[in-house]
């Protein structure tokens, strides 16, 4: 309990000083997911407690997003590295609960993509669970092809949109 409180306080302190010399982890991913507005309709805004914790999560893990090959949902080596960092953070922040959003690109049909996004979110969930994060802390939601992050209709955009995004919800 003491540890939990400490890390929460530490997290808040980090956010509070974020405006000044902000120290970024070396492996911060490139632009696509590094926007100030939440990806999801449902994401907490960053001025709430959960929002601030999620901001901290995003700074301290390799990435909040993993990507998938076309029509696939297996966790590749790059995704494993990312999820390992997320699992380590979540083990260290045992109070945090997360939701994993699964997304698909626009080159699948609507209903199928809802199933595919669910599959991707669950693949990430299962991986985190195998790394010691209790599944009771993890919820999943599929957005199918409803919320692309890259707006082009090309291979590069589709690759970015085939993703699972981890969001700390409290």
């Amino acid at each position: 309990m003491a540890k939990m409180t400490t890390s929460l306080v530490l997290g808040l302190a980090l956010v509070a000083t974020a405006g000044c010399a902000k120290k970024r982890p070396a492996e911060l991913p490139p632009a696509p997911t590094e926007n100030t507005t939440p990806v999801t309709d449902g994401g907490e805004s960053s001025d709430t407690l959960a929002g601030r914790l999620n901001e901290q999560f995003k700074r301290e893990v390799t990435s909040d997003t993993i990507h998938f090959a076309l029509d696939q949902y297996d966790i590749d080596s790059e995704a494993r590295g990312i999820l390992d960092s997320q699992a380590a953070w979540l083990v260290a922040h045992a109070e945090a609960r997360i939701t994993i959003e699964g997304h698909a690109d626009e080159r699948g049909t609507r209903e199928y993509n809802l199933g595919l996004g669910d599959r991707r979110a669950n693949a990430a969930k299962n991986y985190l669970a195998a790394r010691g994060v209790s599944p009771t802390r993890i919820t999943t939601i599929s957005y199918g092809k409803e919320r692309p992050i890259a707006l082009g209709s090309d291979e590069a955009s589709w690759a970015q949109n085939r993703r699972a995004v981890t969001i700390v919800i409290n």
Binding site: D41, G42, D71, Y73, E106, R107, G108, T109, R110, E111, Y112, L114, G115, L116, D118, R119, A121, N122, A123, N126, I141, S142, Y143, G144, E146, R147, P148, I149, L151, G152, S153, D154
Partner: protein
């Protein structure tokens, strides 16, 4: 939704299932009506597109110019004829000369056509408008064969002023059915998703409109993502998927009470709802731990019955018109393909074997065909195949055509089409022969159309 009542007065006729009302006779005494197609004029729905039938549709005169809630009866007569003109022309089977071009006719002429006086057409549609003492309107509708000089259709419709467009659609349906031998489809409604906003965050609302885009109305306010609305065969409900409370699940909208309720009481994502032909149950998909299967639930809710249990995504189910079978898509074999099974889930077998992927199967109301989206080679195309598999025919060839829905007579498919990079779909329709692709006018962008049944 307000219950619309339309009293169809078949002035002569006999067809059961249509609410009949005894109304005043047409202006001049009745002539025999043929219910069969033994008359001379026939339009071939397969080959008719290349040689559309020329048909004359003058404005419908009125017995007495009267002001009504739908407008003045003489103005209504022009608008009614224009709707008949639009309905028939949009089939691709008719070359219409509408009320703007055809000579105006006298009221007395409606049942006494001046056969010799017309040129430029093989068929003639005449009608009349009369305001009744009780506030209703009577619309008469006649079809004449100009060469044979015979009457082919005589119908009358008594409607509330607010339903005046429906009388025109019913008139056009009578003419279409008489000339083609196909079932009617103009007096029907479409429920779909009206869309707007940036591609990354589309604002989506369930909307309903007449088949021709008129009487458009939004049913949800756009606060939640809503997808895949489908109209009940009984026309009393719409089932759809909503992200309300960030819990993607199926909702059912009662069209008379105008109330919504969540249908499936389960935290797992449930989606892809489709009505059974009797309107009493819903076929849908539910995802548990990354695996999506098909289930069935009564429209009143309760415990869902599981129909499939193969590993993979099973979705997009659609019943055969007799309710005995279900066609669905599954990637159990590696990629999305179509399968048919009995309604209880037994005897599942694959029916699609072409290249690419097959999705969104919908069974024709006539039972003989299954329409689908086929993807591959950089295209999303609409196609049909025999209900038992085989006989595949692709009807469109575009970058992004998806989600076909059948017209009530099984002759036309509506779907949504997006151009590459636009993120802005529109509703389109195409004839079963693959010609006459047409954009359906909607106030915003549109997707996920569901074509309702012919209205009673």
């Amino acid at each position: 939704m307000r219950t619309l009542k339309i009293a169809l007065a078949a002035l002569m006729a006999s067809s059961a299932g249509i609410a009949q009302a005894q109304v005043a006779p047409p202006p001049i005494g009745a002539a025999p009506v043929q219910d069969d197609q033994s008359g001379g004029l026939v339009v071939d729905v397969e080959g008719g597109m290349s040689a559309p039938l020329p048909i004359l549709i003058p404005a419908m005169p009125t017995s007495a110019v009267t002001s009504t809630a739908a407008g003045s009866t003489d103005d209504l007569g022009r608008r009614l004829a224009q709707i008949v003109d639009d309905d028939l022309r949009n089939t691709g089977l008719f070359k219409t000369v509408g009320p703007g071009a055809a000579r105006a006719i006298a009221y007395s002429e409606v049942t006494q056509p001046n056969y010799a006086g017309w040129s430029g057409g093989q068929a003639l549609v005449q009608g009349y408008v009369r305001a009744n003492g009780n506030g209703t309107l009577t619309i008469g509708c006649y079809l004449y064969d100009l060469a044979a000089q015979t009457e082919l259709v005589r119908q009358g419709f008594v409607v509330a002023p607010g339903d005046w467009r429906r009388a025109a659609h019913k008139c056009a349906d009578s003419i279409y059915t008489r000339l083609t031998g196909e079932g009617p489809y103009f007096d029907s409604q479409i429920v779909y998703v009206a869309e707007q906003g940036p591609k990354g965050k589309r604002r989506k609302q369930i909307a309903i409109m007449d088949q021709d885009g008129a009487n458009h109305r939004f049913l949800t306010n756009g606060q939640n993502i809503v997808l895949t609305p489908r109209m009940s065969p009984k026309q009393n409900a719409i089932v759809y998927m909503s992200y309300e409370n960030r819990r993607p699940s199926i909702w059912i909208y009662d069209m008379s009470a105008r109330t919504n309720r969540r249908l499936v009481d389960n935290v797992s994502q449930n989606f892809a709802p489709h009505f059974s032909p009797d309107g009493r149950s819903i076929l849908f998909s539910m995802s548990v731990a990354g695996n999506s299967d098909l289930y069935r639930i009564g429209t009143g809710g309760g415990q869902p019955q599981r129909l499939t249990n193969a590993p993979g995504i099973d979705t997009g189910g659609s019943y055969s018109p007799d309710g005995s079978k279900i066609v669905f898509e599954s990637d159990r074999g590696g990629t999305q393909q179509l399968y048919v099974m009995n309604a209880d889930g037994s005897n599942q077998k694959r029916i699609s074997f072409g290249g690419g992927r097959y999705a969104t199967p919908v069974w024709s109301p006539r039972g003989d065909l299954i329409a689908f989206t086929r993807t591959g080679g950089g295209a999303f195309r609409i196609g049909v195949m025999n209900a038992g598999g085989g006989g595949e025919k692709l009807l469109t060839n575009a970058w992004g055509d998806e989600g076909p829905t059948w017209s009530p007579n099984g002759r036309v498919l509506m779907f949504f089409r997006a151009a590459q990079g636009s993120g802005r779909p529109d509703l389109w329709s195409v004839d079963l022969t693959g010609v006459n692709a047409r954009k359906i006018p909607t106030p915003l962008d549109g997707s996920d159309p569901s074509w309702g049944p012919i209205r009673p």
